[in-house]
Amino acid sequence: MDQGRMWSQILLNALIAGSTYSLVGIGFSLIFSPARFFHMAHGGIITVAGYLVYAMAVLFKLNHSLSIFIALFLAAILGSVMELLVFRRLRQQKGSGTIQLIASLGILVVLQNLISLVFGDDVMVLNPGVVKEGLQIGAARITDVQLGIVLTNIVVFLLISFLLHRTKIGWMIRAVTDDAELAQIFGISVELVILLAFFIGSAIAGIAGILIAYDIGLTPLLGFQALFMGVVAAISGGITSPTGTMLAGLLLGIIMQISAWLLPTQWQEAIAFTILLLFLLLRPQGLLGKPLRSKKV
């Protein structure tokens, strides 16, 4: 393979990988912004959505687009149910972010093992039919699922930006993000805003999970691995900023792909982690973030 072709393929792969990181990160940061805790079970929703599509489309032979639609809806419902049953209760008991984080970890473990109980630990393939040649873009190749990932990421990013900056709901979410108590005083229902954030954020997690499932297949650990990269993207982008998350996700994709070419592949995770550490050391508020107030004064 000649130099130019290789580099265009690397960049294209970086775009694809970066888009998945950014999708996961945007959903994560949308929930983190008003709820203010690390929602680990987000990873569980990613996995569950993928397996739901598998169950419906492959096991019950439903139409693929119908299954995707139902799975997305169920993912959003699942996230909202978590908020209603667990996190809302914890907030009412004045549970700190750390308590919610541990509860969320518990949910992640439950979902992950429930999946492995029902479907087993083997890799499941969702993509129907033979492997397609893929589209030719310049000198590089991309499959239609991968193209879908890139386009979906752009669409989701635009929709969320629109939602946050041009609608009443987004205005409320941003108000709660800035200062929940003040927002409450101004008559915004904080509980409702957080529920909405969980609903939308979990739907985005569902989208990410389904796309990853179509692209590389399903394992029970899928969501956890995706979540880690998404969190790295969200933190290094400035955790409450979707634009920053997307930029950081794409940047992360580029760095990971280039390093995958330079270094043995088993070090990929280590590289992501090094980037995270560098950001935390040098620019803890992330690319586009404002410094977070760690505590109410």
């Binding site: 690390f38 700190s96 970890l105 518990g106 473990v109 439950v110 109980l117 088993q266």
Partner: protein
């Protein structure tokens, strides 16, 4: 049966050491360490690799703990100044990174093949009559220590139950204290008598059991002294609200760092025992699940209480042994499903605990980091 109980005692003992380290970090200082297994990995590999090139075991273990605490220093310096949940994600990352290093740096750790045939403590020890009397005497000392601790703990509980100040105390029924006491006494006696039988027919595992129990008793004693000292009170104050000790002129960051490093060192020592119990060390022994189990033990027993952590460990291993034994008989699941099911139940317990009783069994509600 004796052999199996010895195995359970070693496992519970080394996990108790491990959980005590986590309890110092999370229970007393409020640091979320989701990568506790990283310290264990470092401790285990350091001990095993050093001792197999001829370093005396005791020095190897101390170095293992020291290097684990240096890892704590590195993590702490970079993250302890930030929001507390950033520590969670960084420690997850570190534990994966350490496991990757163990898996891939074959020149150092022999990778997936694992480290085999390393020196074991008291590996070739064959006690005569005098030796046996000494080791059983040591076990008796540990047993007496455990009984006094149980007695003191129960006496405290009794005083609280009969002496209700204000309305915030939930009155405990004295009868439950008697039941707990009986269970605790029976448990200690079972372990003690079983230990004596095992030690009199001495084999390697019995010796290891004695070492684990001795170390556990020492660490427990040390930690109890520490957390009741002024140093420990500062840690608790940091957990409650770090602005207050800061206003009183305490260097909060430095205290957090000390707690994090000390907890890491304790986990490193637990790692050495883990390696000696396994007798072959593979990277796959140090999965994130180990951290998760330790969290369950600490949270279940009651964060911020050393005795609670021990209780959590005992309940966890009882659960582990019982489900390992009885669940297959039901015939609901095949073996891989069984593992998933057992972990799922633990996750469920952790979630329900957080909602219904975040202070755990022995924790105090008014001592928990709730309002922030």
């Amino acid at each position: 049966m004796v052999g199996y109980l010895v195995f359970l005692t070693i496992s519970a003992g080394l996990f108790a050491i491990f959980a005590l380290g986590l309890n110092l970090q999370w229970g007393f200082t409020g640091l979320i360490n989701f990568g506790h297994v990283a310290f264990m990995t470092v401790g285990a590999y350091t001990t095993v690799l050093l001792s197999s090139v001829g370093v005396p075991l005791i020095i190897a273990v101390i170095l293992g703990g020291a290097i684990a605490s240096v890892l704590g220093l590195a993590i702490g310096l970079s993250t302890l100044r930030l929001r507390e949940d950033y520590l969670a994600i960084v420690t997850i990352g570190v534990s994966e990174l350490i496991r990757l290093i163990a898996l891939n740096e074959e020149w150092l750790t022999r990778g997936a093949f694992g480290v085999q045939r390393f020196p074991l403590p008291l590996g070739n020890y064959e006690p005569g009559l005098m030796g046996k009397i000494i080791i059983i005497g040591l076990l008796t000392l540990v047993g007496i220590f455990a009984l006094t601790q149980l007695w003191l703990g129960l006496k405290n509980q009794w005083r609280e139950a009969t002496n209700i100040k204000g309305k915030s105390y939930q009155p405990k029924k004295p009868i439950s204290i008697v039941i707990w006491g009986t269970i605790g006494f029976a448990l200690i006696m079972t372990i003690y008598i079983n230990g004596c039988i095992a030690l009199s027919n001495y084999n390697y595992k019995a010796g290891l059991m004695l070492l684990v129990l001795l170390t556990l008793a020492l660490i427990y004693w040390g930690l109890e002294l520490l957390v009741k000292s002024p140093w420990g009170r500062v840690l608790k104050a940091i957990r409650e609200d770090e602005e207050i000790p800061r206003a009183l002129g305490k260097n909060v960051f430095w205290y957090k760092l000390q707690a994090f490093m000390l907890g890491g060192a304790i986990a490193g020592i637990a790692g050495a025992f883990y390696a000696w119990q396994l007798t072959t060390v593979f990277p796959s022994n140090f999965e994130p699940l180990v951290t998760f189990n330790a969290w369950t033990m600490v949270v279940l027993g009651g964060a911020g209480s050393n005795a609670g952590s021990l209780l959590g460990v005992i309940i966890f291993w009882a659960y582990d042994a019982l489900t390992r034994f009885y669940l297959p008989r039901l015939g609901w699941f095949d073996s891989s499903q069984l593992g998933a099911f057992r972990i799922m139940v633990i996750g469920l317990i952790l979630m329900i605990l957080m909602v219904w009783r975040p202070q755990g069994i022995l924790g105090k509600k008014e001592e928990l980091t709730l309002g922030k």
